[in-house]
């Protein structure tokens, strides 16, 4: 028999609705895949399966673009960062004010036109056709497969983790995962050390994504993106007024909720992580289990109220009175302590537990009195960096990272090849701009309010989104709403994974098999191979994510900036410079790849890790990679022969007028 403390009843009801939402959601996605598959019967298979027959209208194009770009990170990592570092995240995300117009407008119209002229279906197709050079196509496809394979594994893991977070408090989830997978995790091999809950989430998430993507192709991906995009914006639009209203109830009269929230944040000091010893006043005849969200108030040496929470599950075995060195997080701001104490009820507390030997480490930036107000000023508090969360060099880097590097992502470029006409493009730029404005700045406000409403979530800040969703909807008396709100992050990661999956299978079927091995392949064979490769790539990525390498989040960052360093400059020159030639663009692609990679390699010697790259003047490697790539294309192009006039006429010349009948 065990005694449980803080059974987490707050989140349980919301999590049950999360389970229901997830099931309904998956059913809807399968329905969409079935409808999309019917479209495949009547159109040119390849163009339909990988590019939706270039027929996307405004809503489909805008929302698939927005949903794919705002990956799972937007709904887990970003809220977690806002909660942990405060208002400075508005500056961190600030370049999103120009992201839609840059990522869609810089290349969109021209890329779509060039792809139509050549009949290209993939990005390597465009490069190969534009320069009539099959080696360029092979180089482009190799880089895409290299980068995307890592990314796909990382995104599968991200999806499984998000699902696990959402279902953490559903009893049925734990029962099913233990029954189905505990024997598997005991067999060792690739399952060694993997938790049963993670495996269940990975297989559920993975199988759902693989089936609907394989069966429905591009249109299934786009339509699920539309549904997911709507869920995301609805989630944020509902949370914003609820957060402001609930924080407003704490504010003194005459002061708005947001104003009160920001002023209280100005008084906050960061919590401190560390260890402590827990002691029972008397031994018990049963185990005492304390959940990771257990709060323990105690009195300090000078009589002051202190409050800490556990960061892991703790068990005090029957007959023992003490456990030492347990992970804790202690609140340090008086306002946080008093707000949290007001939320705790008698049933949350165990008066027979004492806390001693508290040993904590202050933040590297933000704990010192000279950094007062770190949550409302820049560079923001940081537990690990003495320069704070966002030094100005990084703020500049993020302007490149989001707006410019976003334009260089092949997954975005594919979508730019799929819209119907120029009118669709300009209306979609407007729609995505409004969409991002409705999501990102409001998210900053919502999760700044979360610091007041739910103190101490730094211990599990990745759970702040579902925790806040459940907190807001239950306090507003509409618990079912939590299901919709927690679906938003899941929707976001699903829409990223499906498009990456399709990109890799299109690279294999179209760019490698059809264009290099068997151009005369019958459509029936291509169709079978497309289904088969999507299935195989998805399954392989899922297996890779069972026990993935460490540093997956770092891999996602490396891949995103690496792809931009390779692709942006060659694509820009290919589209806008008639003098551009294959030599220059191939050299630029390789130079961007090498420059970017060399800074990551230098990180091994300078900072002790590949994933802590060497930063020239503290700027992100993406800036150096882009610079080298743009200069190399220009210089090498000028010292090598000009392209043939026929090729220039084909892609830059005015098309001949259609003969009138």
């Amino acid at each position: 028999m065990e005694t449980f403390l803080n059974a987490g009843t707050t989140f349980a009801a919301g999590s049950n609705s999360a389970l229901l939402t997830f099931c309904l959601y998956t059913l809807a996605v399968f329905g969409i895949a079935w409808l999309s598959n019917r479209l495949l019967q009547s159109k040119s298979f390849m163009s339909e399966y990988f590019l939706g027959s270039r027929s996307l209208g405004v809503w489909a194009f805008a929302l698939t673009f927005a949903a794919t770009s705002s990956s799972g990170g937007s709904f887990t990592g970003f809220p977690s960062k806002i909660y942990t570092h405060g208002w400075v995240l508005a500056l961190w995300i600030g370049s999103y004010m120009v992201v839609p117009i840059c990522t869609m407008g810089l290349l969109g119209k021209r890329l779509n036109q060039v792809a139509r002229i050549s009949g290209s279906i993939t990005v390597p197709d465009v490069m190969r056709d534009r320069f009539h050079n099959k080696y360029f196509g092979l180089l482009a496809v190799s880089l895409i497969v290299f980068f995307m394979s890592f990314n796909l594994v990382a995104q599968f893991k991200a999806g499984a983790l998000i699902l696990q977070t959402l279902l953490a408090d559903v009893d049925m989830f734990h029962t099913v995962s233990i029954r189905l997978f505990s024997s598997m995790t005991e067999t060792g091999g690739i399952f060694e050390g993997v938790k049963a809950g993670y495996l269940l989430c990975l297989f559920t998430f993975g199988v759902a994504v693989i089936i609907y993507t394989t069966y429905g192709g591009f249109h299934a991906v786009v339509w699920t993106d539309v549904m997911q995009g709507v869920v995301m914006v609805c989630g944020v639009m509902i949370m914003l007024p609820l957060a402001l209203y609930q924080v407003g109830k704490l504010a003194p009269s005459g002061e708005s909720g947001l104003e009160y929230s920001t002023r209280e944040m100005a008084k906050m000091t960061p919590p401190q992580a560390g260890t402590a010893t827990l002691r029972l006043t008397a031994a018990r005849d049963r185990d005492t289990t304390l959940r990771s969200d257990t709060w323990l108030p105690f009195t300090g040496e000078s009589g002051e109220q202190r409050l800490l929470r556990l960061t892991d599950l703790v068990m005090i075995p029957a007959g023992q009175t003490e456990v030492a060195d347990i992970g804790i997080l202690e609140l340090t701001a008086a306002g946080d302590i008093s707000r949290k104490m007001n939320q705790l009820t008698a049933s949350d507390l165990d008066p027979e537990i004492d806390v001693t030997d508290v040993d904590t480490t202050p933040y590297q930036y933000g704990s010192d009195p000279s950094h007062a107000g770190a949550y409302v000023s820049a560079p923001g508090p940081s537990a690990t960096d003495v320069n704070g969360f966002l030094p100005v060099s990084l703020a500049i880097s993020f302007f490149f990272m989001w707006a410019i590097s976003g334009s260089g992502q092949p997954s975005n470029m594919v979508r730019l090849m799929a819209f119907k006409d120029a009118r669709t493009l300009r209306l979609s730029i407007f729609t995505v701009a409004m969409y991002y404005s409705a999501i990102y700045f409001p998210l900053v406000i919502i999760f700044c309010c979360a610091r007041l409403l739910i103190p101490g979530m730094e211990a599990e800040s990745d759970r702040i989104m579902p925790a806040m969703a459940v907190f807001l909807s239950e306090n507003a008396g509409i618990a079912w709403l939590a299901g919709l709100l927690v679906a938003a992050p899941f929707a976001a990661v699903m829409s990223t994974v499906d498009s990456f999956l399709l990109m890799i299978s299109s690279a294999l079927v179209r760019d490698i098999y059809q264009r290099n091995i068997n151009p005369a392949a019958e459509e029936k064979l291509i169709k079978r191979l497309s289904y088969l490769f999507t299935l195989i790539v998805g399954t392989a990525a899922m297996i890779g994510a069972i026990n993935p390498p460490q540093f997956l989040q770092d891999i996602i960052v490396y891949v995103g900036s690496g792809l931009a360093a390779c692709f942006l400059a060659p694509v820009v020159y290919a589209l806008y410079w008639p003098r551009a030639n294959a030599h220059g663009c191939i050299a630029g692609m390789l130079a961007g790849f090498a420059a970017h990679l060399s800074l990551y390699f230098s990180g091994i010697f300078a900072n002790g890790s590949f994933f802590r790259p060497y930063r020239i003047m503290n700027f992100d490697p993406i800036i150096f990679g882009l610079l080298v790539s743009f200069i190399t294309v220009y210089v090498v192009t000028l010292i090598t022969p000009a392209p043939s006039p026929e090729l220039v006429r084909k892609y830059f010349g005015k098309p001949p007028a259609k003969p009138t009948p």
């Binding site: 197709d125 947001l258 264009r515 008639p578």
Partner: protein, 122 residues
Amino acid sequence: MNKPDMDPDIEYDPVFLHSRREAIVIFCIWVTAIIWVVPFCYFQGYGQNVDPSTLSLTIGIPTWLFWGVFIPWVVADIFTIWFCFFYMQDDPLGEAHEGADIEEELAEMRAAARQTQDGGGA
């Protein structure tokens, strides 16, 4: 309006010329955004020792972020509306030549095979 790097003998496609002009305008707006946002926030928001009682707020947002991010964001949205509805052209993007690249490749392969045969025959 031909640039030095452009061949005067070619009549350029208006879609290409419009797209390039639009891309230059977009790049300028990105430069304007970074020049407004980063220096403003650097001088107003970095390294400040904040006194909560005198902290300057505008509609609940720290004033440095209100003028450094929120207002430029609104201006960027207004610019986007102007760009999308009053500047960007509805150019015809042409018919998609589905399979044209594969056909071209097959034709080249057949021609190469014929050449080899002819060469062998001679």
